[in-house]
């Protein structure tokens, strides 16, 4: 039997129409999954949205008006002014920026070096060292808080950038993450670089690290966000006004005696959130790439 071209085309058209109809057919499973996802997203996003909406309210609006009420004349600038009058916002913001950035940069540097050695060098006791580092991840921070405080006090680093930065300058999580990333680097690449005359430093910084930018950025985001939000250690290690970080500043805005000015607190929180949103917006492409690629052979 011969099939003509027009018959073939007709069959193709019918098939396409059929598949289009199939696509339009409701998929109960898909609808359920999407409904759940939308619900979960709403739960996560709504407090943030409420925080932003609240920056426009007055204190009495919080208790007298509906939850999502937006006043006809938003009081955002007044609230910002209140924040700046109440606390040394710029100082706290800069402190947080200096501390978080320094910790992130130092952790990227040290974790890369440790991760590289643990992934690519053979030396006696390597696995024991790695196992010990992983084991420290299981210890809650609260357990080491006091010993760490005593160490920092004895070193004379209380109420200083050194006290805020150095104890957090290297993390077992960072070492673990970078080691896992470096494991996938082919040994031949390092050997080719060695034959080409590259030193071990150059191999790490000029060959290996540029291949793992997504992992570095992921670690940077996680560390920066973690340190920006950090409250307990800065609370313990700082005394004076000058060394306070943003989280501490926000905590100071809570007034137990006369009641907290919630719109002012939410305004400060929104302002404090700003750098995190900026960092994430710029780097999320790499972050998602790294997290998505972590279980895949490239």
């Amino acid at each position: 039997m011969t099939i003509t071209a027009s018959e073939n085309q007709a069959t193709a058209v019918r098939r396409n129409a059929k598949s289009r109809r199939r696509k339009l057919k409701p998929d109960p499973q898909g609808i359920l999954i999407h409904a759940l996802l939308i619900f979960a997203s709403a739960i996560i996003v709504s407090p943030l949205l409420w925080m932003v909406v609240t920056t426009m309210k007055e204190q009495q609006d919080i208790f007298t008006k509906p939850l999502w009420y937006i006043p006809p004349q938003p009081r955002l600038f007044e609230n910002i002014q209140h924040v700046f009058n109440k606390i040394d916002f710029i100082r706290y913001f800069l402190n947080s920026l200096i501390v978080s950035t320094s910790i992130t940069v130092l952790d990227l540097f040290f974790s890369s070096m440790c991760g590289f050695a643990l992934a690519k060098y053979r030396f006696p006791g390597r696995d024991i060292v790695f196992g010990s580092i992983i084991a420290t991840m299981m210890i809650p921070f609260i357990v080491i808080l006091v010993p760490q405080y005593i160490l920092v006090r004895d070193l004379g680093w209380l109420d200083s950038y050194a006290g805020l930065i150095i104890p957090a300058a290297i993390s077992s999580f960072g070492i673990f993450m970078m080691r896992q990333a470096f494991l996938g680097t082919p040994d031949e690449l390092l050997e080719a670089a060695r034959i080409d005359g590259a030193s071990e430093w150059r191999i790490l910084f000029q060959i290996v690290l540029p291949m793992h930018v997504p992992s570095l950025i992921s670690l940077a985001i996680l560390r920066f966000l973690g340190e920006w939000d950090s409250l307990l250690w800065p609370l313990v290690v700082t005394n004076g006004e000058n060394m306070r970080t943003m989280s501490l500043g926000l905590a100071l805005l809570q007034d137990d005696r006369y009641g907290t000015d919630i719109p002012m607190l939410m305004t400060a929180a929104t302002l404090a959130l700003f750098p995190i949103v900026v960092v994430y917006a710029f780097l999320q492409r790499y972050f998602i790439k790294s997290v998505a690629g972590s279980g895949l052979k490239q």
Binding site: P186, E188, L189, E191, A192, A193, R194, I195, D196, G197, A198, R202, I207, P210, M211
Partner: protein, 355 residues
């Protein structure tokens, strides 16, 4: 260019000897292929020459300098890896110029070297591309270009064609050979593919179990394999081997195989009567259907176009025959096979050595 001398080289990992007592002298400009099955120690040997692997005992000299304790970067060698090992974030030009930049060469000289190498390998149009934008063959060429720009004393190739498809492999094989003929740089090439070894080498080193089984020109190894291992490893399809005992019969001197078949021997090998030997003949040396010979039953016919492989049974003995003629017979047919006595290879059954 340089002479490479390897003497009494040993390599052990804990109690496991990977390479034992290797002695190879590679004259200036020679193309030597190290060939052997997986795990025979050929790549370890190459890596020791490169300086990527420590030496347990023995000596490696490059141009009369003992390099045992000299770092890889100071040995003036260049290596091409199986997976190309190109720096993924650098362009072709940056990959090729990396070593010269590290050496602190002036930019005009680096540019000249890259230009020269890219012209030799036809990479001019690809210099600004990243490795991921290249095909397998192009990547392999860049890896060679990276080696060429350094103008090293010795080129080392570690199974460089294994990741390529069959057609590209044949093409790259001849390109590497042409490159060697052009540059005349001493080259040590590792492969497990005996065809690659046969077609490219000035001299082949056959290795097994960490030792050198035989060393020589390709046809020397093919015509006069030193032992059973080399006889079976070199040549495709493999040599037919029949273990048996030498006897005198009414047909003259013969080998009676363990399955009861008799194979003719040249009359001048009376010294072997009573010996247990391995009788070997290459599939292409067996003559099909001319004159009196053993009757074989065809079990499989494999036409490749240029030749036909016949898998047959002589009695109970399996035999592979290569016929240059078109074979019209099918499985189950009988054919007469003649074993020319001048093309035989005889080995001692106990030691495997050539007799």
């Amino acid at each position: 260019m340089a002479r490479v001398e390897i003497s009494q080289l040993e390599k052990s990992y804990d109690d496991v000897d990977v390479v034992r007592g290797i002695d190879i002298d590679i004259p200036d400009g020679e193309f030597v292929v190290l060939v052997g099955p997986s795990g025979c120690g050929k790549s370890t040997l190459l890596r020791m020459i490169a300086g990527l692997e420590g030496i347990t005992d023995g000596e490696i000299r490059i141009d009369d300098t003992v390099v045992n304790d000299i770092a890889a970067k100071d040995r003036d060698i260049a290596m091409v890896f199986q997976n190309y090992a190109l720096y993924p974030h650098m362009t072709v030009a940056e990959n090729m110029s990396f070593a010269l930049k590290l050496k602190g060469e002036p930019k005009p000289r680096i540019d000249d070297a890259v230009k020269r190498a890219s012209a030799i390998l036809g990479l001019d149009a690809l210099l600004q591309r990243l490795p991921k934008q290249l095909s397998g063959g192009q990547r392999q060429r860049v890896a060679m270009g990276r080696a060429i720009v350094r103008d090293p004393k010795v080129f080392l190739f570690d199974e460089p064609l294994s990741n390529l498809d069959a057609k590209l492999r044949v093409q790259m094989r001849s390109e590497i050979k042409e490159l060697h003929q052009r540059l005349k740089t001493t080259t040590i090439y590792v492969t497990h593919d005996q065809i690659e070894a046969m077609t490219m080498a000035d001299r082949i080193v056959v290795m097994q179990g960490g030792v050198v089984e035989q060393m020589g020109a390709p046809l020397e190894l093919y015509d006069k394999p030193a032992n059973v291992f080399v006889a079976t490893f070199i040549g495709s399809p493999s040599m037919n081997l029949y273990p048996g005992t030498v006897e005198t019969s009414e047909d003259g001197l013969v080998v009676r195989t363990e399955e009861g078949a008799t194979m003719p021997l040249p009359p001048d090998r009376k010294d072997l009567v009573g010996s247990r030997i391995v009788y070997g003949i290459r599939p292409e040396d067996i003559v099909v259907g001319s004159g009196p010979g053993a009757i074989a039953r065809i079990s499989t016919v494999e036409p490749t176009g240029a030749e036909t492989l016949l898998l047959c049974k002589v009695g109970k003995v399996s035999t592979v025959v290569v016929s240059r003629e078109r074979v019209t017979l099918g499985p189950g047919s009988d054919i007469a096979l003649t074993f020319p006595t001048e093309r035989l290879h005889l080995f001692d059954q106990a030691t495997g050595r050539r007799l």
